[in-house]
Symmetry: C2
Subunit: 419 residues, 2 copies
C-alpha cells in the first residue's frame, strides 16, 4: 500500500457516509442483512476455510505459538457458530429510535430521549477471525458502520469473512461500506484508525492487555476498553460454607484463561480454619498452585508465600492467591486497592454486609453469592457482547448493543418560545 | 509554588480518598452540606465581595476587556443566587444507589444496575466565580469529589467561595477535600489535572471554544465538552407561518451570546416569499445583520451574500445567515454538514417530515415547533446543568446530575455457579 494515511482517510469517509444510511435502516432490513450474512458464511464456508488454511500455514511456518494458532484456526463448526451468532443478534430487539422519558415541562414542550447509533465504530482485535463476524453483526444491528482491523496473521481469513459480510449487506440493500475490513497488515493503519476523530466515534480494542494499553495511550478517539480482570471472591464471617466452597471453586477452576475468573480469594479470619482446608483440597486435586499471605501460610501446608505483586496479578492460569482478612472492611479495602474493577463477589448470609459490599465495591460487576464467571453479556441477558468495560465513562461491565448507542434529546412543541 | 506536579498529585490523592467517602454519603448528609454551604455564602458575603473586589481591581489595572470584567464581578445579588442554586440542588432527587432493571436470568441469578458516582470530576472554567459554587454543588450531590480550576483572574474570589464550600462540608461532617479549589495561577496545574488518569475520572471544561479545544487536545482523562452551538431552524413547506416567525425570532433574538441561539435559518423555497419578508423586518427592527445565499439575496433587499464560512460560524452576535433550500432533504443535509450537533429545529405541521427530522438530524437536541433556546438543563427538567455535551460518548445534550454518574452491574445470587 503506497499511502496508508490516504487509504485510511478513504475508509473513514466511506464509513461516515455509510453510517448515515445505517442510522436510518429499518429493523427488518438490518435483520435481513444479518441472516443474509449468516447464509453467505454457510454457503462460502469452503472459501473461508481455504483462506484460513493459508493463514494457519503461514503462522506455523513463522513459528507462532500453539495457543495463537489455536485461536486463529477455523473449522466447519466455528463457521456454523458464527452464523448462529448472527441469527441470534437478529433476534435481539432493535434499540434504535426508541423514545423514553417523554414528559411535558411547565413551558408546554415535551422533552424525551431517542436512542441513536454512535456512528462509526473501530474495532481492533487479535488473531480470532470469528470476531470479524461477531463485531460486524453487533455494529450492524445497532445501526453503526464498522471499521475492523484484525490481526495481520488472520488477514486472509478476515478478508474471506468480510466478503460474506459484504455480500449479505448488498443483498439486503445496505451499503457494503457499512462494514469495512482493513486490507493491509501495515501497523500504521491502526495509528490512523485511532486518531481519525472526524470519521471514527469510538474504538473497541479486543485482545491482550498490552494491545489495549498501547491503543489507549495513543488514541484520540474515545476507547471502550477493559485492561484486565483481577477478580475477587470474599468469604464473609456469615458465609454459608457450602455455597462459599462451590462458588470459590467455580470462580477459579471453571475456566482459567478468562477475564472473569477469580485471581484472589479473601477469607474472613473467623471462618478461615473451617473453609480453607476443604477448599484447598479441591484446588490441589485440580492442580491449582496456591499462594498465601502469612496467616494463610501458617494455616495451610505446602502453600507459597504471596507478595504484593501477586495481589496485582491476573494469572489467567491455575494459580490462586489467598489472603485472610480480619473483616469486611479489610476485604473491601483490599478489593478497592488491587481489583481491576472488573468483577468482585461476597459470599455471605448477612444482609447488612451484602448491602455494604454491593454499594462500596467500586467494580463494573459486584455480586452476592454467585460465581464471578457470570460476568458476561450472554449471562446478563444482553444477548451478545463486544467486550467488558472496566471504565466508568459511557459503558461499564459487559457491553452489548446498548453500549454501541447514545441518546439524543428530542423536544416536541407546538410553537413555544422562551420568555 | 515550588513543585506544581507534586502539589497536583497531592490534590489528586486527596480527591480520590475523599471520593470514596462521598460515594457512601447519605442523601441527608449531602443535602445538609449543600444548605450549610449556602448559609456560609450568605454569612460570609462581605468577605467574598472583598476578595472579588481585589480580583476586579487587578483586572481593571491589567486592562482586561469589559465583558470579562462583567463576568468576573460579584454582587450581593449574585451571591444570593449562588446560595439559592445550592438549595435547589439539595431539592433534586438523589440518584446514587438507585437500582434499576433487576431481573431474574435463566441461571437463577438476578442482574440489575446500580447508579454510582464517577469518582473525581475536574472542572476547568474561565472568569465567572459563580461556577465554583454551582459545580461544587452538582459534584457533591452526585457523590463525587471535585477539583476546581477557575480563571487566574478570579483567584481571590474562588478561594473565598471555596472557604464557604469547605466550611459547609465540614459542618455536615464530610471531608473538606471533597471539593478542592486549585490555589495556584500556574497554567501547569491544568496540564497535570487533565492527565492524572489515576486520580481524575472526567474533565468538564467550561468556557470559550479555544479553552475547550486546547484541553480536549491534551487531555488523557475523558472530557465532557461542547465546543460550539451552531444551531439551525428549518422552516418547512408545511410550517404554520405564525409559529415559524415566532420561533425564528425567539431563537435568534431572545439572547445573542448563548450557545443555543440560532445562527442559520433554513427556509423551504415554497414558503420563502411568504415568511421571509415579515421575519426579516423583525430582525432589521432589532438590529440583526442578515447574510444570505444567492436566492435569499435575490428575494430580500439589503442583505449581504453569505460565504461557506458563514455556515460554519457561531456568531454569538446579532448576525444571522439565511439559506433557502429546495426541500427537507437539502435542509437535513445542510444541518448534518454544518451544524455543531448542538440543537436544531424544524417548524412544520407535516407529521412525516417532523418524524424524519427527529430521526435523521444527528444533534444532541432535535426539536419540532419549539425555540432552540429551550436546550437547557433547567428547561429540560434536569434541575441544573454542568454543561451541554455535543459528544455522543457518555453524556449528550444538557448534562445534569445523571451525567456525573455511571452504573455498575449488580448480581444477586443464592449460590449459583456457571455450569
Amino acid at each position: 500500500m503506497d499511502n496508508i494515511v490516504e487509504y485510511m482517510q478513504g475508509v473513514g469517509q466511506a464509513a461516515r457516509a455509510a453510517s448515515r444510511i445505517m442510522a436510518q435502516a429499518d429493523t427488518a432490513i438490518k435483520n435481513l442483512a444479518l441472516s443474509e450474512i449468516a447464509a453467505a458464511l454457510q454457503n462460502q464456508s469452503v472459501q473461508v476455510l481455504a483462506a484460513n488454511a493459508l493463514d494457519v500455514a503461514a503462522a506455523v511456518a513463522s513459528g507462532l505459538d500453539e495457543a495463537s494458532i489455536d485461536r486463529l484456526m477455523l473449522t466447519g463448526k466455528t463457521i456454523e457458530s458464527m452464523a448462529e451468532g448472527l441469527l441470534q443478534i437478529a433476534q435481539l430487539p432493535d434499540l434504535i429510535g426508541a423514545i423514553s422519558d417523554l414528559n411535558y415541562r411547565p413551558s408546554g414542550i415535551q422533552v424525551g430521549k431517542m436512542r441513536v447509533p454512535l456512528g462509526v465504530i473501530g474495532i481492533i482485535y487479535e488473531s480470532r477471525p470469528n470476531v470479524t463476524a461477531d463485531a460486524a453483526g453487533l455494529c450492524l444491528k445497532s445501526g453503526n458502520a464498522a471499521i475492523l482491523r484484525g490481526g495481520s496473521e488472520a488477514l486472509h481469513s478476515n478478508q474471506a469473512i468480510a466478503a460474506c459480510v459484504q455480500a449479505g449487506l448488498k443483498s439486503a440493500g445496505l451499503p457494503e461500506t457499512a462494514v469495512q475490513v482493513i486490507s493491509t497488515a501495515d501497523r500504521a493503519a491502526v495509528g490512523c484508525l485511532i486518531t481519525m476523530k472526524e470519521y471514527v466515534d469510538v474504538i473497541v480494542p479486543r485482545g491482550g492487555k498490552s494491545l489495549i494499553a498501547r491503543i489507549s495511550a495513543d488514541a484520540k478517539v474515545p476507547v471502550i476498553k477493559h485492561l484486565d480482570g483481577i477478580c475477587h471472591v470474599y468469604i464473609d464471617d456469615d458465609a454459608d460454607l457450602e455455597k462459599a466452597i462451590r462458588i470459590a471453586d467455580n470462580a477459579k477452576t471453571h475456566r482459567y484463561g478468562v477475564c472473569n475468573a477469580m485471581e484472589t480469594l479473601l477469607v474472613s479470619k473467623s471462618v478461615a480454619e473451617k473453609v480453607l482446608p476443604p477448599l484447598c483440597q479441591i484446588y490441589r486435586d485440580k492442580g491449582v498452585e496456591l499462594r498465601g499471605d502469612k496467616t494463610a501460610c501458617e494455616l495451610l501446608a505446602g502453600i507459597t508465600p504471596a507478595t504484593t505483586e501477586d495481589w496485582r496479578t491476573e494469572y489467567l492460569a491455575p494459580i490462586l492467591s489467598i489472603r485472610i482478612v480480619s473483616d469486611i472492611d479489610e476485604a473491601i479495602l483490599h478489593i478497592n486497592t488491587y481489583s481491576s474493577q472488573h468483577t468482585d463477589c461476597i459470599v455471605t448470609e448477612n444482609y447488612s454486609r451484602a448491602m455494604r459490599f454491593l454499594r462500596e465495591v467500586d467494580s463494573s460487576s459486584v455480586m452476592v453469592n454467585a460465581s464471578t464467571r457470570f460476568a458476561d453479556g450472554f449471562e446478563y441477558g444482553l444477548g451478545a457482547e463486544i467486550g467488558i468495560s472496566t471504565d466508568k465513562i459511557h459503558a461499564r461491565g459487559p457491553v452489548g448493543l446498548e453500549g454501541l448507542t447514545s441518546q439524543k434529546y428530542i423536544v416536541l412543541g407546538s410553537g413555544q418560545i422562551r420568555l
